[in-house]
Symmetry: C2
Subunit: 344 residues, 2 copies
């Protein structure tokens, strides 16, 4: 298993990226291709305490870097020698089994769609992160790749999420819920009504385990394994989680610092509190797969540290080994609403 890593993408590149990739190689035996400016990557390798490249780690030179200021839709094309574009081309050509990048989400998504390409019949690639819930984890799909969606996209997100939960997360019969503002079938807007009908049909045919509408509060308590929604709503849900978590941890911290008594209490729960913080720490999950792309592309958080990258590499490995993409390809005929209108 060989994972291609964009050494230049993300706020902490290249040092933390390289460190995380080397950790994944050392701790889990994953082969790595580091893509980026060779001199800078080698310097980072040295800074990690390695005099030379360890066995199973290689560098592929790429002279350019995609920057925040670059147009996301065009960056991969305008910078053909960027670590992002070189990495995606390596994946496309079979030099590695998956690609991990902490760089621009938009550029990575456009690049993945146009270089590696979508699975035939899939209308849009979707972001499907594993989000923490009181029941463990759930796939939230889409959560930002597609602000505007059709019922057919959402039907496909349901399948993508369901197969992902099954193959990669090991959930035998994933409960697929449609994110909505009430439990009843008639709740929500036109997109939800039309999607509900498609998901119900897929559920009745035994292709997915559709459990109906789920409200966001119930979803957080773990009632669904796959939460299906458009990218706009999913992104708001994800960022609200992030914001509330940050807000509550801030309040908790202030509470613990408010008096001698509470400071004493803080000392007593320090380790346990750390565990709790991890619940909402994106580094712990480590990466968001772009579901629907022909080969595994994993977006790591822009602020990823070495631990997040190591986890993202492990997610990429699991994904590449899972058989998920073959599942989608084998069942694509059920995921089309109007096969005659297929464009890709």
């Amino acid at each position: 298993m060989k994972i291609i890593v964009d050494a230049m993408g993300g706020d902490n590149a290249p040092l933390e990226i390289v460190r995380g990739a080397l950790d994944a190689n050392r701790n889990h035996g994953v082969e790595i291709i580091l893509v980026g400016r060779t001199a800078e990557v080698l310097k980072a390798v040295e800074a990690c305490g390695q005099k030379s490249l360890p066995a199973g780690v290689e560098i592929k030179d790429a002279k350019e870097v995609v920057e925040i200021a670059d147009d996301p839709a065009m960056a991969f094309k305008q910078k053909p020698d960027s670590s992002l574009t070189v990495g995606l081309n390596l994946l496309k050509d079979g030099a590695g089994d998956a690609f991990v990048s902490a760089g621009s989400t938009g550029a990575l998504l456009s690049g993945a769609t146009l270089v590696v390409k979508r699975i035939r019949g899939i209308r849009r690639a979707a972001m499907g992160p594993q989000i923490p819930t009181a029941g463990g984890r759930a796939v939230l799909c889409d959560c930002g790749a597609n602000a505007e969606c059709t019922p057919e996209y959402l039907l496909q997100f349901a399948y993508l999420g369901s197969y992902y939960a099954q193959r990669v997360m090991g959930i035998e019969k994933p409960r697929v819920g449609l994110l909505n503002i009430g439990a009843e079938e008639e709740k929500g807007d036109t997109l939800r009504h039309e999607t509900y009908a498609l998901l119900k049909e897929a559920g009745e045919a035994g292709r997915i385990h559709f459990i109906g509408n789920v409200e966001a509060n119930e979803a957080m308590m773990g009632t669904a394994d796959v939460i299906v929604t458009d990218g706009f709503t999913g992104n708001v849900m994800l960022k609200t989680m992030e914001g509330v978590g940050k807000f509550l941890l801030k309040s908790l911290k202030e509470m613990f610092l408010s008096s001698t008594k509470t400071k004493l209490a803080a000392g007593l729960v320090k380790g346990d509190l750390g565990q709790m913080k991890k619940l909402l720490d994106p580094s712990e999950v480590g990466g968001t797969p772009f579901l629907g792309i022909q080969k595994p592309v994993i977006k790591a958080h822009g602020g990823s540290n070495a631990r997040a990258i190591e986890n993202a590499v492990l997610r990429a490995k699991e994904y590449a080994e899972s058989g998920f993409i073959a599942d989608i390809q084998a069942n694509i005929e059920h995921m089309r609403v109007q096969p005659g209108m297929e464009k890709n």
Copy 2:
């Protein structure tokens, strides 16, 4: 100031509703009209330790009750002698200054729209709760009344939220943000693009203080006083907050119960932790106003206890005293995109 209270609406009616209303009367000198089955209301008054109705509290008999099973859109009409319909008619006729109900949101919204009616020129009433943020509180508008919205609705929600924040919450120059999935002007879907242009124009004319797009995580940290969005997205945001709060408090509780040491810590922070829980407790805010209705209608949480009802009555009083509705009426011409197409 006289507040009409639906004594029969909500999970804990009539006892907790009556108790909360009596508390508001006693503690804050608010006059109250309790609407419901006289015998049941009197029994609740007795259960609160009162032998007879206190001064400033009266009962208005209503023989029916709107139930969960009733069709929300039709309930107020099908049950003309329900506490909800009688209460709304009292408000319309000027018998009181505001109406508070913990009953069905849908029935209350339909009833408010069709009995009390919208402010002339306002296309849709919106729910505008005050949500907790790291910066204090923000108005989230809409958060569930309108799943499907036009840019004009959102423009109006911005004005409604802004005047509400100014008049009722006392924020001199409320920062109005458009909830979106990125900060840049071109982010989001068509609804957001078109709304952005309208809000920008209103901001440039000095009518609102538009600060641009806000992402949900930033909104939770308190970057905006008014968060403008469609009812679908707003509802998902609100319920995600609720769900994450519940999930984290559950995790915190489990953490504190996990060992002798953590149990000791729990004892030390017990009171402080209670304060923190209040941050996310709907009883503390007490009610969601239906903004855009000609007179103040406040929806209290279905699970309201006496404290929540007391707070909702206080919100209703503040709202009725604020001059908010007169502001909207005086400025309605700026809130219309196509005045010729006005229907109401």
